[in-house]
């Protein structure tokens, strides 16, 4: 057992079709957006992650390298990998009592009352999200893993 426990635990879904290292990258980013991870927090050591998830250590290192490349974390030799900065334009905007979140929660309740299933709401939300963000050139870092393959096929 590590004396100082890490601030996040990864869940690996082998059937999701998403590359394992990308799942770690995405879960870390999600935690950064939600404020579960904050600057200075230590990510679990590769050894801890692989012992819990039974995935290959190189997969974890690949994910951490990707996060490091994006400037989100930094590896400190002999100490571990630490969070450098948070994600999301306004960190406070995702807090439990933030106005945007309260409005969204309110909207979700209305959608449910109107008889929409969870999947319907997800689809609707994604569609609105796509049309809203496609107009102003997003940075799309979440699709990084796929873009390499696209390059080769050109």
């Amino acid at each position: 057992m590590a004396a100082e426990s890490a601030a996040i635990e990864f869940r690996i879904d082998r059937r999701s079709g998403v590359a394992t290292y990308l799942q770690i990258v995405q879960q870390t980013k999600q935690a950064l957006r939600l404020g579960v991870l904050e600057p200075g927090d230590r990510l679990p050591a590769a050894r801890e992650v692989v012992e819990a998830t039974a995935i290959n250590p190189n997969t974890v290192l690949k994910a951490y390298r990707e996060l490091e490349r994006e400037g989100l974390v930094e590896a400190r030799r002999g100490l571990g990998t630490f969070v450098r900065r948070t994600l999301g334009g306004a960190p406070d905007a995702t807090a439990a009592d933030a106005p945007l979140r309260t409005e969204l929660a309110d909207w979700a309740r209305r959608a449910r009352a109107a008889g929409l299933e969870k999947d319907d709401v997800g689809a609707l939300f994604t569609a609105v999200l796509d049309s809203t963000y496609s107009t102003n050139g997003t940075n799309g870092t979440d699709s990084v893993g796929r873009s390499h393959e696209g390059d080769q096929e050109r």
């Binding site: 082998r14 394992t20 590769a46 050894r47 012992e51 039974a54 995935i55 250590p57």
Partner: protein
Amino acid sequence: MTGVAIEAHGLGKTYGRRGGGHRALHDCSFRLPTGRVCALVGPNGAGKSTLLNLAAGLDRPGAGSLAVLGSTDPAAVRDRIAYVAQDKPLYPQLTVADTLWAGAELNPGRWDRATADRIAGTLPRTARVRALSGGQRTRLALALALGKRPELMLLDEPMADLDPLARHELMGVLMAETAEHGTTIVMSSHILTELEGACDYLLFVDGGRVRLGGEAEDIVSAHVLLTGQARDLAPHTVVESRTTGRQLTALVRKEGPVDTATWAVTQPTLEELLLAHLRSPEAPPLLTPSAAAAGTRAEAVSA
């Protein structure tokens, strides 16, 4: 620095009498770098166990050469190798405690008692090996193997007897071992999904030779699944193709850029890739640069 854990050149092994003998391995060449977790996969009777037996130094090749951890005589480096054979050979009359004690006595200077004890976990120490279940025997065999602190672990069908929980736990233990000590691990299985995710290297053995070898990721990304109107697939190497009406579905090895205007391109899974190769015995072998044995550019020479 990465060294070479196993290097085979033209390895051959035939069982039984000449004439009617069974060729378990034939002209098998590959290289496995150290620090990798390698899935040794292939159908039943492909030569997986024979290969592990030779690498453990328990048997001698009939042809070719084999170097393990830098030694051309694998038996000479046996103290740095742990081998768990498929039938988990243990002494049935010994108790669990006796077996662990024997592990310590037989591996002086190397034995890591804490690790062995941790992996043996809740196994009743006074129980005799013969009274243990298959899964418990596997656990004890892995405790011995890991207690030895080997540089190379050869595991033949290690997960076959284990329930899903024990499988996950022990796979996690193996991954932690390699994360911490850089241990090279070779695990055989005919069930790929058992190993996918844990292994970063692949040796696909079929018909006594290596048909695919190298970094699992590179091997997968060297191939694509193409779907489109039936047409010429050149210049790509076709592993398998199927035509339904006007539609052609093909798994190809990329030789240059893929025309994305005429084909719908998807990435096959490792499993799809292996199945396609199993159905197409004539597909040429593919070894990535790190998996090609030094000096085996011998296709032309042997012709």
